[in-house]
Symmetry: C2
Subunit: 191 residues, 2 copies
């Protein structure tokens, strides 16, 4: 998606450990018009897939997931990673690990909202090592639902997440793909 690629090249910068800082439009101070257009584009790519639910995980994927859900006219579930708000104690749960923060988490979705009739689209802001995605897939699998694919704003191709998920047979769509980072420069695929 051209607009996202331009924003990355013009505004994003590179931090320690090849972390890409996109807090200025994507995951802290969010540009709503961009978010909506990204959500619409993700929805378009999965329009034929008979999606019944959009699933993301707290917190940085929630905004994008909302615009995808709105465009597809399906509910959006966010798996809980933290103790925020009530959820039913009867949950599907899975363990995940964030390499960026060196922390492990249990993510949880109430059993009421995922089941064998669901076709689920996973949505997140950034795909790197794919740990969060694998945990979401585990929740989907435990519920008996089917994962129809994953849509992310930015895929970091120098990390293994995308290729692991695709080898598992999951359709993964990224709106921008980072090939590699050279010093302070972000090199995008097809940019």
């Amino acid at each position: 998606m051209k607009e996202l690629k331009q924003r990355i090249l013009q505004e994003a910068n590179v931090g320690e450990g090849d972390i890409i800082h996109v807090d200025m439009f994507l995951n802290h101070c969010m540009d709503m018009e961009l978010m909506e257009r990204m959500g619409n584009e993700m929805a378009k790519r999965f329009r034929g897939e008979k999606i019944t639910k959009v699933l993301t995980v707290e917190s940085s994927g929630i905004a994008l997931a909302c615009f995808v859900g709105r465009a597809l006219r399906v509910p959006v579930i966010y798996a809980k990673k933290f103790q925020t708000g009530y959820i039913d104690p009867n949950v599907y749960s899975a363990e995940t690990h964030s390499f960026s923060f060196g922390k492990s988490y249990t993510i949880r979705v109430s059993k009421k909202y995922l089941g064998r009739d669901d076709r689920v689209l996973l949505v997140d802001d950034i795909l790197a090592n794919g740990q969060a995605a694998l945990a979401l897939l585990e929740l989907v699998s435990k519920s008996g639902a089917e994962a129809a694919g994953m849509a992310v704003a930015i895929e970091k191709k120098m990390r293994e997440g995308g290729s692991v998920l695709r080898r598992m047979g999951l359709r993964v769509e990224a709106l921008a793909v980072v090939e590699r980072i050279e010093g302070d420069r972000i090199i995008l695929a097809d940019a």
Copy 2:
């Protein structure tokens, strides 16, 4: 807002400590059409207020804040309560306490995104004791910005948050007001 009140009366239920469970449409599995209409209604109520930023806090207010920000055509910032995604280390921070979970948190917003030219609308899903709102107001105040008001989906009138904020001179708009809870029954104002 009639539609929200009906959903509360038809679907919500009451848990221990007068917690209202609205995970089925508001803060776990989210009904996007309802969320969008709530966001539009909140935006309408603050349309004349020259809002420049919408501010919420992780995680349950993010979805609503997005639809408000989209309708007002302004950026949405979510204050970080957890270690998720990158934010600049140069932050405004404030302490807050969740009575529901018996936990204290530090919330943080990057200094880059709030400043003295901003008029900020706070958005959250539920207003009870108002601790999160007070911490958000502290961030706004530290940044030199002005708080134009707060919009919440549900205000629990039997808790003090709404009256504390209004006594401070803040305009608070709730789409549904819970007067009290009687056993398992939720009693709404003007429902």
